[in-house]
């Protein structure tokens, strides 16, 4: 037998070592978390800083003369008649009136390009909304061209050499004159949230991609959730334990590891070429993504079902509940929080997925905002990719802004899932 005193000494000695080990592990864990958090912070702050200018829009105020005779319409004209009017002429006239000294053809081109090409539609919509302005002269705020926007926001440096500057001296003079007269304003960019994609950076908005993502995810959720949950319940509770089921199980796990672009090829071959579903549409995107999400949700749901305590099953069975009643009255509700967590992980994956959607044409340039799941659309990550790929300066900030919107979308989705999970957990 060991002497009492030597025993205490030995334990004390080893205690020091044990606590040291614990301390080292704790600090290492803390460092890992801190590093991960730091990277996240860097990423988010970098993107946010780059994205901020995208939420501000440069606008030019011009005095336009909406003379009914010149335009050839009256306040009683039909919508179609108004639509046919060339409002570009009115804007050009307004610019010419302000800068009468501009005569040369090339200089005129510079002058006219101060406002965005979308300005004429802006004016047309304004007239359509309120006809009373016809026949009057009034100040209208137009969206500035992306070069003007870049210059005002400082993305183009006025002090650079003219040869290396995108906005030449002549145009710079025009802009500075407008600035002096207080005709240039910076306002919050509502347009970014209310319009679809465009070739012009100042007109491009995110709404098309947001709705595209929303429709796609809706299809994915509706396709995946019932199928995945039924499959998980069947495999976990009803399926006989034999080789066939083992084989299916292995293949579900394999499916989760298949590169996503393969699902895109499958979607192209099966849904578009064989079933002739529309190209570039959220319905096809949703189906393809649901193939990809299916194994994730099945695996998560199965482990959630497995984690339900057997005592709950026994309690129900012991009362004479049938297998089906046991599963749907007790096991499924108890597993639901876990199933929802798995679903949201799967959906978040689907939201960020790009590769399979490239294969089914959702990478197309689509200006119209999709109205249903069969309309051509694009999704947020592809919008990011498309804008990142565009040469115009203005798209740089739009890219970051789109990433921010994507992250916001993701956070909203997660928040809803957490809320639902909490709600169902309360029943315990």
């Amino acid at each position: 037998m060991i002497d009492k005193n030597t025993m205490t000494v030995k334990v004390e000695k080893s205690l020091k070592k044990r606590y040291l080990k614990e301390k080292i592990f704790k600090s290492m864990g803390f460092i890992s978390v801190a590093v991960a958090f730091l990277f996240l912070l860097m990423l988010i702050s970098d993107i946010t800083i780059k994205a901020l200018p995208a939420f501000v829009q440069t606008q030019i105020i011009l005095q336009v003369d909406l003379n009914e005779q010149d335009l050839g319409i009256t306040q009683q004209s039909s919508v179609d008649e108004i639509r046919q009017v060339d409002f570009r002429r009115v804007i050009r006239a307004a610019l010419k009136k302000q800068f009468p000294q501009v005569k040369k053809r090339k200089q005129k081109k510079d002058l006219y390009s101060l406002v965005s090409v979308g300005a004429e539609y802006q004016l047309r919509d304004l007239v359509l909304e309120n006809r009373e302005i016809l026949g009057t002269t009034l100040n209208v705020t137009f969206i500035a061209d992306d070069d003007v926007d870049a210059l005002i926001k400082g993305a183009i440096d006025r002090n650079d050499e003219e040869s290396g500057r995108r906005v030449k001296d002549f145009k710079l003079n025009l802009i500075e004159t407008l600035e002096k007269h207080g005709q240039i304003e910076k306002n919050f960019n509502w347009q970014f949230f209310s319009s679809g994609d465009s070739r012009e950076p100042e007109l491009a908005g995110i709404k098309g991609a947001v709705l595209g993502s929303l429709y796609t995810l809706l299809v994915t959720l509706l396709m995946t959730f019932p199928v995945a949950v039924s499959a998980a319940i069947y495999l976990e509770e009803f399926a006989p334990k034999n080789r066939m089921v083992d084989f299916i199980e292995i293949n579900i796990n394999n499916l989760a590891a298949v590169p996503s672009i393969v699902f895109g090829l499958l979607g192209l071959a099966v849904f578009i070429n064989f079933f002739e579903l529309p190209r570039s549409a959220p319905i096809v995107g949703g189906i393809v993504l649901s193939l990809m999400t299916l194994p994730t949700i099945i695996i998560a749901s199965r482990s959630a079902i497995k984690a339900v305590p057997p005592s709950l099953r026994e309690a129900a069975l012991g009362l004479g509940a049938s297998k089906m009643q046991t599963v749907f009255h007790h096991v499924f509700p108890a597993a639901l929080p876990g199933i929802l967590t798995g679903t949201i992980i799967g959906m978040a994956q689907a939201l960020g997925e790009t590769a399979p959607l490239l294969m089914i044409g959702m990478v197309a340039f689509i200006v119209d905002i999709p109205q249903s799941v069969t309309d051509p659309a694009t999704v947020l990550p592809i919008q990011v990719y498309l804008w990142a790929d565009s040469p115009e300066r203005g798209f740089l900030e739009k890219t970051s802004a789109a990433i921010l919107v994507l992250i916001a979308f993701l956070i909203t989705m997660n928040a809803i899932a957490i809320y639902l999970r909490k709600k169902f957990e309360k029943k315990w």
Binding site: S311, L312, E314, G318, L319, G320, A321, A334, K427, W428
Partner: protein, 278 residues
């Protein structure tokens, strides 16, 4: 089939049986089991157990851990069906009907043979819904008022009503351990079974809660046949009329509880109840 077996046949059966000492059979049996073997895959857990359980009798199954008493108990309402590798052979008759016959529905059987488990396992629902669940799935009541009455009656029988009557809507999982176990008993009674199986119902409870449960068992005996597995010999002595001693999957001795605890016939039984092993 055993209802009218006379003493002579019983004795001869006993002689044939050979291994079990005492009186495993009784007249007017509710449950009657013969030559039951249970296998988990290749491992045999129960060897040739023959035992009767009489009407309105509390029979205690005792024995060291792993002796197969719980396994045997779970054969009686076919809970072992849920374990794929478990195989039960032999004859198990409830009121003379083979409960392992093809035409016997396990769901119906479990409605007739209720079970209370070792660990209280109320559903994560309200106290009311816990008790009402069984009657609801079996369609025992035709309207809300009847169901209310049945729930109340069950809670009265389980001796829980005074503690919960003001909070029937609060979750059953919020009760104390002893209350939860009584809730589980109320839940079982609500289905109006003929036999109640109890698998160490008081092993997770303190002495006060245990005493309440034991009192309850003696009360329930008037209406039900009760088979109780227990590790506490005092408990077996207090609540049961007959006691069966299991050892390594074999039924060693069955007898009047008094006799088993005062004058056991078999060596193993004596060693166990005197605490020399187990």
């Amino acid at each position: 089939m055993n209802n009218n077996t006379d003493q002579k046949t019983l004795d001869s059966m006993h002689a044939e049986h050979g291994k079990t000492v005492g009186q495993p059979f009784c007249k007017d049996a509710k449950f009657s089991t013969r030559n039951v073997d249970v296998f988990y895959a290749d491992n045999q857990a129960i060897y040739d157990v023959s035992l009767d359980m009489g009407k309105n009798e509390v029979i205690a199954l005792i024995g060291p851990s792993g002796c197969g008493k719980s396994t045997y108990l779970r054969c009686l309402n076919r809970m072992n069906d849920t374990i794929d590798i478990c195989k039960v052979t032999g004859q198990l008759l409830l009121d003379g009907q083979d409960i392992y016959a093809k035409e016997q529905d396990p769901v119906l059987l479990r409605a007739r043979v209720g079970m209370v488990f070792q660990k209280p396992n109320p559903f994560p629902k309200s106290i009311y819904d816990n008790v009402a669940y069984g009657p609801r799935i079996h369609g025992l009541t035709s309207n809300k008022a009847e169901l209310d009455d049945l729930v109340e009656e069950s809670l009265i029988k389980a001796g829980l009503i005074n503690e919960v009557k003001d909070r029937l809507d609060s979750p059953g999982t919020g009760l104390s351990g002893g209350q939860q176990q009584r809730l589980c008993i109320a839940r079982t009674i609500a289905v109006q079974p003929e036999v109640i199986l109890m698998d160490e119902p008081a092993s997770a409870l303190d002495p006060i809660a245990t005493a309440i449960i034991e009192e309850l068992i003696s009360e329930l005996r008037k209406n039900y046949t009760i088979v109780i597995v227990t590790h506490s010999m005092q408990q077996a002595a207090r609540v049961s009329q007959r006691t069966a001693y299991f050892h390594l999957g074999k039924l060693i001795e069955v007898g009047e509880t008094n006799q088993i605890f005062t004058n056991p016939a078999h060596d193993l039984t004596e060693k166990y109840i005197t605490g020399r092993f187990g």
